[in-house]
């Protein structure tokens, strides 16, 4: 059952003009793709698509939000992706350095069915959904982004985590010869992130392959990234090549870089201060005055139970 908070249609459900204008193109491409599949058994749309190409067969409105979506231009030009450079605009500038085809993902650790999968094979069984989530960066800015992806839960269950599995570790591609940021010792490459297994299995946690109806731009983490909307953005690791189920809490990059600033949990929490940024407020991109930051980024009713009995100022 799709789970939604706003069953009524809102302004956000209106098809963006650009997609409306390109509806014939969608149909043509779907038809071509269908023909391709019929003729030669070509893999689904995602593996064929280049960054920026429209995604088809997406179930819309699975999770909606009554807040204006951040313009695509801002969401794709203002990003943190240190692999492509430490500035906000560098990742978009050097996006083409990231090669997303061919792409393989290794699933290993405490699973019954470990293996190395091509992106197409990995994605094939998972129907794509559009979910509009808030994105809150630890740097106290935020956006609203219509992601396209599927729950991580379905993917993890396919590979059958063992009884020992308690955490999920993720790793970004490591390609220092191409990725300008990785040629520098800014972080201990490759970028690593992790979740507790129950966080990873939560229905809000998704793997995304697209946004704004299209394949993810490289700077936004193509071809496959995590989205955990109640945590600071750095948890939502980009360009994933490895998923490891582990018994122990895995090391995570920003936590290793500055443990007093970035915790393992990194739940959005206005009550837990950060040495650099006032976390009680945030600047929504496109707005002038800061708005108050919501506990768990506004997903408190859905996720607070995961942390019952935990001291969130210690486990920040």
């Amino acid at each position: 059952m799709p789970f939604r908070w706003n069953p009524e249609l809102t302004a956000m459900d209106v098809t963006p003009e650009i997609f409306f204008q390109q509806r014939r193109q969608f149909i043509q491409q779907s038809a071509l793709l269908g023909a391709g599949v019929a003729l030669g058994g070509i893999a689904p749309a995602v593996s064929l698509a280049e960054p920026g190409e429209p995604l088809t067969n997406v179930q819309k409105g699975v999770v909606t939000l009554d807040e204006p979506v951040t313009p695509f231009k801002d969401a794709s030009s203002y990003t943190n992706f240190y692999e492509l450079g430490s500035g906000k605009e560098e990742p978009a500038r050097y996006g083409d350095r990231l090669q997303t085809d061919p792409w393989h993902v290794v699933i290993e650790g405490e699973v019954n069915r470990p293996g190395r999968w091509s992106l197409a094979d990995l994605l094939k069984p998972h129907p794509l959904e559009e979910r509009v989530y808030r994105l809150r960066c630890v740097e106290a800015w935020s956006m609203v982004i219509p992601w396209i992806g599927f729950p991580l839960k379905g993917l993890l269950e396919r590979f059958e985590p063992t009884a020992k599995a308690r955490y999920v570790a993720f790793e970004t591609i490591h390609d220092p010869s191409r990725l300008p940021g990785q040629a520098q010792n800014m972080l201990d490459w490759p970028y690593r992130e992790g979740l507790r297994l129950d966080e990873a299995l939560h229905p809000l946690t998704i793997l995304a392959v697209g946004m704004y109806g299209r394949v993810l731009p490289n700077q936004n983490g193509a071809p496959l990234r995590l989205v955990v909307p109640w945590k600071y953005g750095f948890k939502s690791i980009k360009s994933i090549v490895r998923i490891t189920l582990t018994e122990n809490q895995p090391p995570t990059s920003w936590n290793q870089q500055a443990p007093t600033e970035y915790g393992f949990y990194a739940n959005v929490n206005p009550a837990v201060d950060h040495p650099r940024w006032d976390q009680s407020k945030e600047r929504r991109i496109g707005e002038f005055l800061r708005r108050p930051t919501l506990p768990f980024n506004g997903y408190q009713t859905q996720v607070a139970s995961l942390y019952q009995g935990m001291d969130l100022s210690k486990n920040f």
């Binding site: 203002y78 430490s86 800014m186 870089q257 040495p275 006032d278 407020k281 600047r283 991109i285 496109g286």
Partner: protein
Amino acid sequence: MQIPQPVWLLLGLSPLARLIQSGISGGLGANPIEYIIRFSGDWALWLLLISLSISPIARLPGCRGVIRLRRLAGLFCFFYATLHLCSYLVLDKYFDWFDIGRDLRKRPYITVGFSTFLLLLPLAVTSSKGWIKRLGRHWGTLHTLVYPAAILAICHYFLMTKADWRLPALHALLLALLLGWRWRRNIFSPLPG
């Protein structure tokens, strides 16, 4: 040939002109407030380093004349530092004095940045001919405050950096060279300057 003063004045205002032009043409990116804060901070720091370069350059043969630009460079440094501080107070915090006070107490890069401004303030105020005359030999002593101000400005840069230390390190190196030159000269010559 001497370049007339108004030309230098226009040159000093040109970063501001570029900022305004970017603002009008929508070129400030997704987070214009951050852009303005970074831009004005960068120029304040660069003009501080330029001010400190003028004395060493004036020692080069045939370059004595540049010394008369030192005050203007220093004042433009203060101008962009003021813009930097005001964009934080007005654009970023919109006069939220409670938050600003908390930032000053809790966030080292803000404490250090604000202290830098406080050190530059008396230098800008006493830059006029009248003040130079009034302060006499104390003027030079007072203006050695520019050295701690520059060191604090670099600290401010380091403290706000998350992981990529290359740019702050480059600025620190430039400052180290400029201060090193003065230190060496003080050892070899007893003259103040």
